[in-house]
């Protein structure tokens, strides 16, 4: 063994520290009213993690209700078409309610029910997938649920609004600011501040104040844990080896951190996050926090310190993405840290390239992906041909695309 003199190995298990920091990122930037609620949540979560009954109940629900483990699918025709690396898909689109979001929603809802003595859930949603997942978990566990959603997102993700309502959840329209995910989070936090004695805020991504980024990561890590063993097991559809690269889209970063985290120690596996490139970086209409050197800077938004798209005065920038779930000005603090220490890398995919990925997966594999997940595919269209045929890419297919049919129809036309 050679000992490196230039760098000490990074201990990925050591973050966050007790104050909720991932290096310089993370923390708890919230109004005082919420500090006790965050402490209480952290305590409940730490307690649940080592409670065998709790973990067994969650595992049982994941198996019998969510349908886990989700399959691993070899994308044969897509791989052949691109002529490079072999592409495998982790099928979170097949999880009950249609996306990886259920992993976290069910975990937190069960935590509230079993460990916290609260009776009411509030959540935000962008694409509506987290809202639907939360509404689903609330119905399953018999809990009151209110979901805040920007009016712009309600329009572009209409089917999900109706799904939430069918599940017994009240969807509250948010008309302030950019009327998208960021504003829905502000409003959910305001509700939480007001009703904190009875209410749990079921945050939907690896964002927000400590302990959310770590807790959401842990609930989502089931994706990577399953994929790690499936990849090595031909009986589970895997190539019998670990992938050379893992690709996932990054909104707040929960599906990405969920699949990355169990692979952090496999230093040979490249971890690639794909942000929303919107109309392109120069155009300014995008949500690529890491790709915009001018506006993507260290900042604090909604409780956590991370990369934030902002103007020179610290006002949060308006973002754009064809996918509501990636249309957000900040990114989970652990991604910012993993990028700094050189473990993960980030790129972006424009709306146009995303639609190419969307169509490719529909036509070559018979899978209609969520527009969020189509960002990962869009990037793989470029990456795979640069790799050798004996190399392997694992893509996190975070959700299914039923909710996006309206958007896609408007963009590429419905009568083809």
């Amino acid at each position: 063994m050679t000992i490196s003199t230039t760098s000490t190995p990074v201990n990925y298990g050591a973050v966050p520290d007790e104050t909720g920091r991932f290096g310089p990122y993370g923390g708890k930037y919230v109004p005082e009213t919420l500090m006790p609620a965050l402490d209480e949540l952290e305590e409940a979560y730490l307690n649940a993690r080592v409670d065998k009954d709790f973990m067994a109940e969650l595992a049982h629900l994941q198996h019998t209700y969510v349908g886990r483990p989700t399959p691993l699918t070899y994308a044969r025709r897509l791989s052949e078409e691109l002529g490079g690396a072999q592409i495998y898909l982790k099928r979170e689109d097949l999880a009950h309610s249609g996306a990886h979001k259920i992993n976290n929603a069910l975990g937190q809802a069960l935590l509230m029910k079993r460990k916290m003595g609260k009776t009411r859930i509030v959540a935000e949603t962008g694409a509506g997938q987290h809202g639907v997942a939360t509404a689903t978990a609330a119905a399953l566990l018999g809990t009151e649920c209110i979901v805040y959603m920007g009016t712009v997102d309600m329009e572009r993700q209409k089917p999900n609004v109706f799904r939430m309502q069918l599940l017994g959840t009240e969807v509250r329209a948010v008309d302030s600011g950019s009327q998208t995910l960021k504003d829905a989070i502000n409003e959910a936090i305001r509700d939480w501040v007001t009703n904190v004695e009875t209410t749990h805020y079921l945050l939907g991504s690896a964002l927000g104040p400590h302990p959310y980024p770590a807790m959401v990561r842990d609930f989502q890590s089931i994706i990577g844990i399953e994929a790690h063993s499936q990849m090595q097991d031909p009986a589970e559809g895997g190539p019998g080896r670990l992938p050379d690269a893992i690709v996932a889209c990054v909104g707040g970063g929960s599906n990405a951190i969920g699949i990355f985290h169990p692979f952090l120690k496999e230093e040979k596996v490249r971890l690639i996050g794909v942000e929303a490139g919107g109309h392109g970086i120069e155009d300014g209409a995008h949500a690529a926090r890491f790709a915009d050197p001018e506006r993507g800077r260290l900042g604090v938004l909604q409780g956590t310190k991370s990369y934030v798209l902002q103007d020179s005065d610290g006002q949060i920038a308006l973002t754009h993405s064809i996918s509501a779930g990636l249309d957000y000005a900040s990114v989970g603090p652990e991604h910012a840290w993993l990028r700094d220490v050189g473990r993960s890398e980030y790129t972006y995919c424009t709306d146009t390239q995303t639609l190419k990925g969307f169509s490719a997966l529909c036509e070559l594999e018979g899978i209609i992906p969520a527009l969020e997940s189509a960002h990962a595919i869009g990037y793989v269209l470029e990456l795979a041909p640069q790799m050798a045929q004996d190399q392997v890419i694992l893509v996190n297919l975070s959700g299914r695309g039923d909710k996006d049919l309206g958007t896609v129809m408007q963009t590429i036309g419905g009568d083809r």
Binding site: P36, G177, N186, V193, T194, N195, V300, Q310, G314, I316
Partner: protein, 269 residues
């Protein structure tokens, strides 16, 4: 005199009269730059003891609809952090000498540069700083920068605060402590919460600093009742709403006089 001492002096002088400080908030740049300057001047004349000088942020997570709308309009009108500090300087040059506590969120200050902000604020005539999304544990850069610049560092407590957090806020605050009267966001409310006196008592056990109560106070009688139990009465949304009305500055003056009379009731009664 340093900013923190100017704030301490307000409370020291009022103590002898039994009155509470009247501490109105206004969002700078709202409804326009010029009008916001007139509002601050009017508040000073109407009897403000300390002005909460609001620096707008795009994502005011602790604010209700009134202040959200006002700060959004101010940003659309082009209000910047630097311009807010310039406005403070202009007011000082006009002779307005009421102590100012800047009130903003953390990100605009972080973007400006924490040390640079503290120094620029102090030289613009700002005396203290309140940042609702920056609790003591996260303030390891800004707090020393403010101390060095002579600014009071004011933290908030809420009815949900534990004894431990009360102790921590008491340790880190200078000038006064801001008590959020309700579990909730800013906005005028009809009733004062019944648990307010007990909350105030809980905080008193851990500090001798003056206490100011805010969130929800909108009328003279409410101000008078609050003035009986604490040293400062903060009023935001009701005045901001008045500033946005057609009668603007006049409406602010009339309401501010009523609130000042309520807060100062100890002087007469």
């Amino acid at each position: 005199m340093r900013g923190v001492e100017r704030i301490e002096q307000v409370f020291r002088e009022l103590k002898t009269t039994g009155a509470a400080a009247f501490m109105p908030y206004h969002a700078m740049g709202y409804p326009t730059r010029q009008q916001s300057l007139e509002v601050i001047a009017a508040l000073a004349v109407a009897g403000a003891d300390i002005v909460e000088f609001g620096i707008p942020h795009s994502d005011p997570l602790a604010d209700g609809p009134t202040i959200q709308t006002a700060t959004y309009a101010a940003l659309v009108g082009g209000t910047s952090v630097a311009d807010c500090l310039k406005m403070a300087r202009e007011l000082r040059d006009q002779g307005v000498d009421t102590p100012f506590c800047a009130m903003s969120y953390y990100n605009p200050i972080l973007a400006f540069g924490e040390e640079r902000f503290a120094n620029a604020a102090a030289s613009a005539g700002i005396d203290g700083l309140i940042v609702p999304d920056l609790p003591p544990g996260e303030s390891e850069l800004l707090e020393p920068a403010c101390r060095a610049a002579g600014l009071a560092t004011i933290y908030m407590l809420a009815p949900t605060s534990t004894e431990e957090r009360i102790k921590s806020v008491a340790r880190h605050s200078t000038g006064f402590i801001y008590l959020v009267s309700v579990t909730g966001i800013t906005g005028a409310r009809d009733e004062l919460p019944p648990y307010l006196p007990a909350f105030v008592e809980r905080v008193r056990r851990h500090t001798d600093l003056p206490l100011a109560v805010g969130f929800g106070i909108s009328t003279g009688p409410q101000a008078a009742r609050v003035s009986e139990i604490v040293e400062g009465v903060v009023v935001g949304s009701a005045l901001v709403k008045a500033a946005g009305a057609e009668t603007g500055v006049d409406a602010v003056r009339i309401l501010a006089e009523e609130l000042a009379a309520g807060s100062h009731k100890g002087v007469d009664g």
